[in-house]
C-alpha cells in the first residue's frame, strides 16, 4: 500500500502536520532508525504531533492506507520498542510537552505524553510533591514512554511502578477514536491493559498521574558487605522485618571499582557488595526503622554503615549509585543493561549463576540491581563494532534471561520486551497464553498497524521452548472445574460463573451455573519471597485468617464473598496493586498462566489487571498470586476505592470479549446484544 501511494500519503500527512513537522529527508529518516538498543529499522516519514487531534488524524490516514505507525517519545528505549519494524510512520510525541494541571489537593497531575519525567519532578518539587517512578533515564525519557513501558526505578520497591501511578489515560485507539480510560471505569480495566503495552494497542495522548507529598524525612545509608551472599541475606531479612525501604539498591565489587575510578563517591573498595538503603516517612518512623535496618546489616557482617540525612550528604551517597552506569559507559562504547527478575529468595542463586554465565561467555560484567524486588541489571560492556563480541554479549544476555525464567522469574522487570526480547517470550509464556496475547492484539488492532511485530513472538521466530518451571499443579477441585468447564465449552453450553454467590443475584437456573467456590486452597505461601498463591474461590474471611495465622499481612478490606469475586466485581480496586499473577481458564478450554512469583514484571500484556471488573465475562479465574507483607504499613500511594458497579459493555469491551470468549459462553447475559 505504502509503496503505491507514497506521494499521496505524505501529502495527506503534510496537510495535517504543523509546518516543518513532517520529516521525510534522508537524514531525518536515518535518525529515527534507532533507539537506545542495537536494533535498526527505517521509517518512511516522521510526524511530530502537536496535540491529540493531530495524532488522531495521522492514525486515521495510516489506517486508511494501511500504513504501519509507531509512537515515539525520547527514544531511550532499551529493547528496540520504538523502532519501526515494518517501516511506515513514526508519530513523535515530544512536541506534546505541556504539564496541564497539578492538583495538590486531590494529589494528581495531568500531563501530555512528551513531558520529560525530570521536568514533572522539578515542577512538583516546588510544591512539595513528587512522582514516584524514577527510571534511570528520567532526565531524558518522557512520561508517555514511561506509560508505554510501565517504567520502574529504584523507588518503585516501596511505591510501585508506573501502572500503580496512572489514574487515567487519553488514547488514540487503533481505529482512530480518541478514548479516555480511567481507573474509575466500570468493566474490565482497559486502562491497565494499555499501560505497558508498548504502543501496540494505541497511542497515549494525555495522562492523569498520581502524585505524592514529599515524606517528612528521608534517610540514606550505605552498608558495605564482605560478600554478595551476606548482602542478600541482609536484604531478605530487611523485607522479613516488615520495613519497606524507599529504595534498596545493590552493587557488586566490579561496579564499585568502576564507580570509584570515575566519580569518587567514597565507596569502600574492599567491599564485595554495597547496599544503598533509603528510608522515608515521619521522623519517628524513620528513626525506628533505621535502627532495625542497621542491626540487620551488622548481623550480616556489614563492616561499614554510613547514615546521611542532610540533602548534600545523601546526594553524595547517591552519586555512586547514579555514577554506576556512567562509569561503565566510559569503559566501553556500549553497555547492555539486562533486566531479569527472580523471586526474591532466589537472588543469591541467580547471581551466582549469572556470574558463571558471564565467565563462560567471557564477557565483562558488573552487577547492579534493585535488590528489594529481585530485579537484576547485569551490565555487560562491549563494543558493537566488534561483531563477535556483540554476539557473545547477546548470547550471555539471553542465557541470563533463560536462567531467570527457570528460577520462576521473568524476562523484564522494567525495560519492556520490544523486539529484543520477543523470542524470550516463548521461554516464559505457554503457547495458549501467547495466543491470548495475539488475539488481544488482533481484535484491538485488526490491521496490525500500531507498532507491529513487537512483544509477541512471530511465527518466523525460533522454535518456542518453555523454560518456565512446571506450574503449581491443580487441586482436585480445580481439576474438576477445568474438566467440567471444558466439557460444557466443547458443547457450546454457556455457563454462569459463580463463586460464593454474594455478587450476582439474578435467578439463574441451577444447570447453568458453574460454581468456583470449591477452589479454596492455599497453593503456596512463600515465606521468604513474600508471595501467596491461592485459588480464587477462597473467601476473604478465610484468606485473612490464614495470613494472620502465618504472620503475614495483605491490606484487603473486610467483606463478604470470595477473592475471585472481589477481583471480578472490582469490589475493591486496590487489589490491583498486589496482583502478581493469575491462572485463567478460557472458553476454548485453554489454561493461561500470567505473571508469577515476582514482584516486578512487565513481560506481556497486563491481563490480570484487565480481569478486574470483568464480572466473569472473560475467563474463569482459577488462582491468583499476590504480594504479601510482613507487617502492616501505611501507604499513601495506593489507590483505595470501593465500587461494585456492573458494566454495560462498549465496543472495546466487545473486542476484548472476542479475544477471550468469542462464542459468549461465560456469563453470557453481560455481552448479550441489546
Amino acid at each position: 500500500m505504502w509503496r503505491d501511494h507514497k506521494v499521496k500519503i505524505i501529502a495527506e500527512l503534510e496537510r495535517v502536520a504543523d509546518k516543518g513537522r513532517l520529516l521525510t529527508d534522508e537524514v531525518d529518516i536515518l535518525s529515527y532508525t534507532y533507539d537506545a538498543a542495537l536494533d535498526r529499522a527505517r521509517p518512511e516519514a516522521i510526524f511530530i504531533a502537536r496535540d491529540a487531534a493531530q495524532v488522531q488524524r495521522a492514525v486515521q490516514i495510516c489506517l486508511k492506507h494501511k500504513v504501519p505507525y509507531v509512537a515515539r517519545g525520547a527514544g531511550t528505549n532499551l529493547s528496540g520498542g520504538c523502532i519501526p519494524l515494518k517501516g511506515g510512520v513514526v508519530i513523535s510525541l515530544v512536541g506534546m510537552d505541556k504539564i496541564l494541571e497539578i492538583d495538590t489537593q486531590s494529589h494528581f497531575a495531568v500531563v501530555e505524553p512528551g513531558v520529560v519525567n525530570f521536568r514533572l519532578q522539578k515542577e512538583l518539587e516546588g510544591v512539595g510533591f513528587f512522582y514516584a517512578p524514577d527510571p534511570a533515564s528520567y532526565k531524558a525519557c518522557t512520561l508517555g514512554g514511561n506509560v508505554a513501558e510501565n517504567a520502574g526505578g529504584p523507588r518503585c520497591l516501596k511505591y510501585g511502578v508506573t501502572s500503580n501511578h496512572v489514574l487515567a489515560l487519553e488514547c488514540v485507539m487503533p481505529n482512530g477514536d480518541i478514548q479516555k480510560w480511567s481507573l474509575q471505569d466500570s468493566g474490565p480495566e482497559i486502562m491497565s491493559l494499555l499501560v505497558g503495552a508498548e504502543g501496540t494497542l494505541g497511542i497515549v495522548t494525555k495522562i492523569w498521574l498520581k502524585i505524592l507529598p514529599m515524606p517528612e524525612m528521608i534517610e540514606t545509608s550505605l552498608a558495605a558487605f564482605p560478600s554478595l551472599e551476606s548482602a542478600i541475606e541482609a536484604v531478605s531479612e530487611i523485607i522479613a522485618s516488615g520495613v519497606v525501604p524507599r529504595t534498596l539498591e545493590a552493587m557488586d565489587r566490579v561496579t564499585v571499582e568502576a564507580v570509584e575510578s570515575y566519580v569518587h563517591a567514597g565507596y569502600p573498595l574492599q567491599a564485595e557488595a554495597v547496599l544503598l538503603i533509603e528510608l522515608d516517612g515521619t521522623s519517628s518512623r524513620v528513626s525506628k526503622e533505621s535502627k532495625i535496618v542497621q542491626e540487620i546489616c551488622k548481623k550480616h557482617k556489614a563492616f561499614e554503615y554510613r547514615v546521611a540525612r542532610e540533602f548534600q550528604e545523601r546526594e553524595k551517597l547517591w552519586e555512586g549509585r547514579r555514577g554506576a552506569y556512567a562509569s561503565l559507559a566510559r569503559l566501553a562504547p556500549n553497555v547492555l543493561v539486562e533486566d531479569g527478575v527472580v523471586p526474591r529468595n532466589k537472588l543469591s542463586e541467580a547471581l551466582k549463576d549469572i556470574k558463571e554465565i558471564a565467565a563462560k561467555h567471557e564477557v565483562k560484567m558488573a552487577l547492579l540491581f534493585h535488590a528489594g524486588d529481585g530485579n537484576l541489571h547485569p551490565n555487560i560492556i562491549f563494543d558493537e563494532r566488534n561483531l563477535f563480541e556483540t554476539k557473545q554479549v547477546k548470547r550471555a544476555g539471553y542465557e541470563i534471561l533463560k536462567h531467570c525464567v527457570s528460577l520462576g522469574g521473568s524476562i523484564s522487570g522494567e525495560h519492556g520486551i520490544g523486539v529484543d526480547k520477543r523470542v524470550a517470550m516463548s521461554w516464559l509464556f505457554t503457547p495458549p497464553t501467547l495466543n491470548l496475547f495475539r488475539r488481544l492484539k488482533k481484535f484491538l488492532d485488526p490491521d496490525n498497524l500500531s507498532n507491529p511485530d513487537k512483544i509477541i513472538p512471530l511465527a518466523s521466530d525460533q522454535e518456542p521452548i518453555l523454560f518456565r518451571p512446571s506450574s503449581k499443579g491443580w487441586s482436585f477441585q480445580a481439576q474438576k472445574i477445568i474438566e467440567m468447564a471444558r466439557e460444557r465449552c466443547a458443547h457450546k453450553i454457556s455457563s454462569v460463573i459463580i463463586g460464593s454467590g454474594t455478587k450476582l443475584s439474578h435467578p439463574f437456573r441451577r444447570e447453568d451455573i458453574l460454581y468456583t467456590n470449591g477452589l479454596d486452597q492455599v497453593l503456596e505461601l512463600d515465606d521468604s519471597n513474600y508471595t501467596l498463591t491461592v485459588e480464587a474461590g477462597i473467601t476473604l474471611h478465610v484468606l485473612k485468617e490464614t495470613l494472620k495465622k502465618k504472620g503475614f499481612y495483605l491490606p484487603i478490606p473486610d467483606g463478604k464473598g470470595s477473592l475471585g469475586g472481589l477481583i471480578s466485581a472490582k469490589a475493591w480496586g486496590g487489589v490491583r496493586d498486589y496482583l502478581l499473577g493469575m491462572r485463567l481458564l478460557l472458553a476454548n478450554g485453554d489454561v493461561v498462566e500470567l505473571g508469577g512469583n515476582v514482584v516486578k514484571n512487565v513481560a506481556g500484556y497486563d491481563v490480570p489487571k484487565l480481569l478486574i471488573g470483568s464480572w466473569g465475562g472473560l475467563a474463569i479465574i482459577l488462582d491468583v498470586t499476590l504480594k504479601v507483607f510482613a507487617q502492616p504499613f501505611p501507604l499513601s500511594s495506593h489507590i483505595s476505592y470501593l465500587s461494585s458497579n456492573f458494566f454495560v459493555p462498549n465496543n472495546w469491551h466487545r473486542r476484548i470479549k472476542q479475544a477471550f470468549d468469542p462464542d459468549n459462553l461465560f456469563n453470557p447475559w453481560i455481552f448479550a446484544e441489546r
Binding site: G20, R21, L23, D25, E26, V27, D28, L30, S31, Y32, Y34, D35, A36, I46, I48, A74, G75, T76, S92, V94, G95, G114, V116, F118, R119, S137, K139, A140, C141, Y325, A326, S327, A329, R330, P333, N334, V335, D383, E384, R385
Partner: protein, 425 residues
C-alpha cells in the same frame, strides 16, 4: 590545507574520530540538554542525532555528505550534550569534523575574507568596522533625541536597551590600552588577551577587566595579539586557526594570560586540540593552555564592596556562557561571587546553562532557530524579574542585548567584569 583533525581530545584520552563518535551509545541522556532538539523536536537536531549522523558519514551509510549539511550547520556547538554525557562524547568537535567533510576543503568567501582580515590585516578590519559603526551611529542618532522623551515618559528602560547599539565604538580597546602607555611595561604577573569582541565592539568590557586586574593583581602588560582563531576553526579554515594559535603562543610567553571573552578563553585553553599530531607544537600548546585564565574564575572576594550593592542593582541573575560552562567547566566561581556580593538579590536563572542562541555567527546563519532559542532564554530571564543579567561571552552580550531590547527591556545585560567594576569596586 589541512582539512581534518585526525585525533580528538576527549575526556577518555586522545581518540580517533571514529572511535570517539562510536563512544555514543545512543542512551539519549543528552536530548533534554540540547536546545535545538527541544525547540524543534527533531532527533537529528540532538546531540545523539548529530553523533549518529557523523558516525553514519564515517561508515559510509550517508552517501552524500551534503545531505547532512543542515543537521550539522544547525548545531550551536554549545557543548551542553557533552556535559550531560557520561562518556563526554565531544559532539561539537565531531560536528566540526563533519562540517569539514562537507566543505571538502572549501571555505565560504566571507569567512575567508574575515579570516584574512583578522589574521593578516587587523588595521584594515579596524578601519572598516569604524566606518560601519559610524554609519550606525548616524542612523540611530535620532535615538539620542528620543531618549530624552523616553525618560520624560518614565520609560528609562527602553533607553537603557538602546544603549547597546549606541555605543558602537569609534575607538577600539587596543587603542585605549596602547594609549595609556602600558604596552611596554615591565613583565609582572598577568598579561591581558585582547579578544575581538571587547576590542571592536565592547571596549568598556575590556577596560573594566583591566581595572579589576590592576586592582587585585597589580600592573600587568598588554601585547598586541592576533585573533584567537576560533572563527577560523569553527568555519573551516584549520590552517589559519593554527597560524593564529602559533602567533599567539609565541607572543605570550607569559606566566598568566587573562581574557574576558569566555569563547576565546575556552579556545585558548584548548589550543592543544589543534596540534595533537604535531610533536613540536603539541607540548607548547599544552603548556600554554595551563596558563590561560578567564577573568570570571579569578576575582577574589576580598576587597569588594558588598554593603549596599543589592540596593543599587536590584535583582541580578547570571547566564552561563556555553564556552565558560561547557568549554572550561567554570560553573561555581561566578555564582559564589554573586552570592557573596548580592546575597538574596542574586537569583539563579532557570536553564542558565542553556545556550542563548548567539553562538558566534549562528544568529546570522540560522535566524529562526536562534530566535526561538533566544525567546526561551529571555522568558526565563523575565521569570527571575532581574534587572541585570550578567554573562561573559561577546556573542552572549550581543544576543542577549538584542533579545532583551526586543522582548524584555526591563532588564539589561552586562559582562561580569563590568558589573563587578561598576558596582562592587
Amino acid at each position: 590545507m589541512a582539512e581534518h583533525l585526525e585525533v580528538l581530545k576527549t575526556d577518555l584520552g586522545e581518540r580517533g574520530v571514529y572511535d570517539s563518535v562510536s563512544q555514543c551509545s545512543r542512551c539519549g541522556y543528552c536530548l533534554s540538554a540540547c536546545p535545538t532538539y527541544v525547540v524543534t523536536g527533531k532527533e537529528a537536531f540532538s546531540g545523539r542525532g548529530r553523533n549518529q549522523v557523523v558516525r553514519m558519514m564515517v561508515e559510509g551509510k550517508i552517501k552524500k555528505a551534503s545531505l547532512a549539511e543542515e543537521v550539522l550547520s544547525s548545531c550551536l556547538l554549545c557543548g551542553a550534550c557533552t556535559s550531560a554525557c557520561y562518556a563526554h562524547v565531544p559532539t561539537a568537535e565531531l560536528v566540526l569534523e563533519g562540517r569539514r567533510t562537507i566543505r571538502g576543503g572549501k571555505v565560504h568567501w566571507l569567512v575567508r575574507y574575515l579570516t584574512w582580515l583578522l589574521k593578516d590585516h587587523p588595521h584594515l578590519l579596524a578601519w572598516q568596522l569604524k566606518c560601519v559603526h559610524l554609519v550606525r551611529r548616524l542612523g540611530i542618532s535620532r535615538w539620542v533625541a528620543l531618549s530624552g522623551i523616553l525618560r520624560a515618559l518614565g520609560l528609562k528602560e527602553l533607553e537603557m536597551a538602546e544603549f547597546q547599539v549606541q555605543e558602537a565604538p569609534l575607538k577600539f580597546l587596543h587603542e585605549y590600552l596602547g594609549a595609556n602607555g602600558q604596552v611596554k611595561s615591565k613583565v609582572t604577573g598577568w598579561s591581558y588577551f585582547t579578544s575581538c569582541g571587547p576590542n571592536y565592539l565592547y571596549p568598556r568590557v575590556g577596560l573594566a577587566t583591566v581595572d579589576l586586574l590592576r586592582k587585585f593583581f597589580g600592573e600587568g602588560r598588554f601585547i598586541k595579539n592576533s585573533c584567537c582563531g576560533l572563527p577560523a576553526y569553527n568555519y573551516g579554515d584549520l590552517e589559519s586557526a593554527k597560524t593564529m594559535a602559533k602567533k599567539n603562543m609565541q607572543s605570550f610567553n607569559v606566566s598568566l594570560l587573562v581574557g574576558d571573552c569566555s569563547s576565546c578563553v575556552a579556545f585558548l585553553k584548548n589550543y592543544d586540540q589543534l596540534f595533537l599530531d604535531d610533536p613540536v607544537w603539541k607540548p607548547k600548546a599544552q603548556a600554554f593552555s595551563t596558563k590561560v585564565k578567564d577573568i570570571i574564575e579569578m576575582i577574589p572576594m576580598e576587597g569588594l564592596r558588598t554593603s549596599d550593592l543589592g540596593l543599587r542593582t536590584g535583582l541580578v541573575t547570571y547566564h552561563d556562557s556555553c564556552r565558560a560552562r561547557n568549554g572550561q567547566g567554570v560553573v561555581s566561581a561566578p555564582r559564589e561571587l554573586f552570592k557573596a556580593l548580592l546575597g538574596p538579590r542574586y537569583v539563579e536563572l532557570p536553564e542558565s546553562e542553556w545556550c542563548c542562541g548567539g553562538a558566534g555567527a549562528f544568529s546570522f546563519t540560522h535566524p529562526e532557530l536562534s530566535q526561538e532559542v533566544l525567546l526561551r532564554k529571555i522568558s526565563h530571564v523575565a521569570s527571575t524579574r532581574a534587572e541585570v543579567v550578567v554573562t561573559s561571552s561577546t556573542s552572549c552580550l550581543i544576543q542577549l542585548a538584542h533579545g532583551l531590547k526586543k522582548y524584555y527591556p526591563d532588564c539589561r545585560v552586562m559582562h561580569l567584569s563590568e558589573f563587578v567594576r561598576n558596582y562592587a569596586s
